[in-house]
């Protein structure tokens, strides 16, 4: 039976109030004003449940399955799960029962039947080294698989820092020649959901947006949903006031650490990291790294792995003194050489001195 989404939910035991509460929380997580939560609830409740659930194809490339873990573990049977229920996940290696040829067939069937309409989710980076031989599925390199699957996709979600920016595989010296999805696909809308792993609700938020409004949320210059990545961890951090007051933890077990002061000195990358951890938190809203006393690693930013030590404060440079010492030697040597040249010139001028007589005052 077809009807508004709210009816579908009601049949599954979800009341209108539960749904309103969920939307309020989702709006809060998406950093939308509280009024947007009500608007979303009204729009979604009224929206007709799709005749056919939108197809989602999820391809894993050079990845660690952490992103999948993050998504699947985040929601116990809850509203978020119901949002997932509103889609048809047609291919997901880790989750699907099918394997081998069956799985391949499911993939191709889904691609064929939903051509131009399906949502393609990618996690993991794409290795270009050795003609892509570093990572293959069913004899196909990730590059080929991506190009093929991207052709019929309505949009692509690059899930996790590897798919979005290349992530850890791309870290210096990048042995596999890993690149991000957006490095390869140029003609499809791409939503980057970086993070190592990304926050699950970002995924459901994007899906909710897709289901509610039939469109993708607003993205920033790096292709990330503005709602979640619009501000830095530092801006939304509950420890921010201590930064402003100049109160810092200096070690992980000092007075400042116990008082919950700012972790900037301990290497927190919050000021340069755009993500929603500070508001959405992790593990069902239990906590998040800074709340548990550890600085942000900056995992949702490009090349976070090569951004200097995790425990080095942002204002600390890599190590300029090593080169500086060499420069000092060169500078001193140059200085000494110049000194000799100058003194030579000066004493030459002196030895060429001709005593001035009265006649010498006139031209």
């Amino acid at each position: 039976m077809q009807g508004p989404l709210i009816d579908t939910l009601a049949r599954q035991g979800v009341t209108r109030r539960t749904f309103m509460k969920y939307c309020a929380t989702l709006a809060s997580m998406m950093a939308l004003p509280p009024a947007a939560g009500r608007a979303m609830a009204e729009a979604m409740a009224a929206a007709p449940a799709a005749a056919r659930r939108p197809s989602v194809i999820w391809l894993p490339f050079q990845e660690c399955t952490g992103c999948t873990e993050s998504i699947t573990r985040s929601h116990s049977p809850s509203i978020e799960g119901l949002i997932f229920d509103a889609i048809s996940l047609d291919y997901q290696e880790t989750l699907m029962a099918a394997a081998g040829h069956q799985a391949e067939e499911a993939l191709h069937t889904a691609m064929r039947e939903n051509a131009g309409k399906y949502l393609l989710v990618i996690d993991g980076s794409i290795p270009l080294g050795l003609d892509g031989a570093y990572s293959c599925i069913a004899g196909k390199s990730n590059l080929e698989a991506l190009k093929e699957a991207a052709q019929g996709a309505a949009a692509i979600v690059a899930m996790g820092s590897c798919a979005a920016f290349g992530g850890i595989p791309k870290a210096n010296p990048n042995p596999t020649g890993a690149v991000s999805v957006s490095d390869i696909i140029k003609d499809k809308p791409i939503i980057n959901i970086p993070g190592c792993p990304p926050i699950p609700v970002v995924m459901t938020g994007v899906l909710a947006h897709f289901l509610t409004f039939g469109s993708l949320p607003e993205l920033d210059s790096k292709g990330r949903p503005k709602a979640f990545y619009g501000e830095t961890i530092h801006d939304r951090c509950y420890r921010r006031p201590f930064y402003d007051q100049g109160k810092f933890a200096h070690t992980f077990d000092d007075e400042g650490a116990r008082n919950g002061w700012c972790l900037f000195e301990l290497g927190c990358k919050g000021p340069v990291t755009h993500n929603a951890c500070a508001t959405v938190k992790w593990n069902g809203g239990t906590s998040w790294p800074v709340e548990s006393g550890h600085g942000c690693l900056g995992c949702s930013e490009p090349d976070f792995w090569d951004g200097g030590g995790f425990y080095k404060a942002l204002s600390m440079p890599a190590d300029p003194l090593k080169m500086g010492a060499a420069a000092a030697v060169v500078g001193a040597a140059a200085g000494v050489a110049l000194s000799f040249a100058n003194r030579g010139k000066k004493s030459a001028a002196k030895s060429a001195h001709e005593t001035t007589t009265l006649a010498d005052l006139e031209k």
């Binding site: 930064y243 007051q245 951004g307 200097g308 404060a313 440079p317 000092a328 110049l338 003194r343």
Partner: protein
Amino acid sequence: MNDMQFLTWVRGTGLDIAVSIFVLGVLWRLFEIYSLGRKADLAAPRDTPGASGWHTIFRRSIPPQGMVKKSPVSYIGGYTFHIGLAIVVFLFAPHILLIKNLTGLSWPALPSQFIDLVTVVTMAAMVVVLADRINKPVKRYLSTFGDWFTWTLTFLPLLTGWLAVQHLLLPYTVMLALHILSVELLLIFLPFTKLFHAFTVFGSRWYLGKINGHKGVAV
């Protein structure tokens, strides 16, 4: 190059290059200047308490009698921006961390809001000093490209640092990178412009004090 790569470059390679040029330049220039030497003063010295190179190094920081009234902008503006710069550079927590990381030395920081205020006051003082340079016939007459250039070099780190902390104009990451880049430019040009007075001022004052101290004149 994305924001983070830009920041990583300025914090890494860029800073390496800047610090190297700075260190190299400072040593080279110091040798170049002070190796020229000075003839011993053969006149019989006259000792007067307070007349020495060391005394003058400190005493010259105090304006001579009546001079503040003659050029108030130079003195008040000059003091404000020099002291302000010192406070912002040496008493802002992230800066102390940098120094600590490089040298192992650290000291207490001032609250960020106070630093913020000092930065604004310092920038205001620099703008006033610049206006004075444009308005006063003597200063305008003496000014060369180097004067406008070094003013900009000094002002940019303040401005970009402030904008970064205030989250204005550009994303923090880009602003922070620009801030570090502007400091690197300052470091690179310091040994080769009039900014080098930061080093030679001590030598100059010492020579002045020494030469006049020999005559028993406390300058």
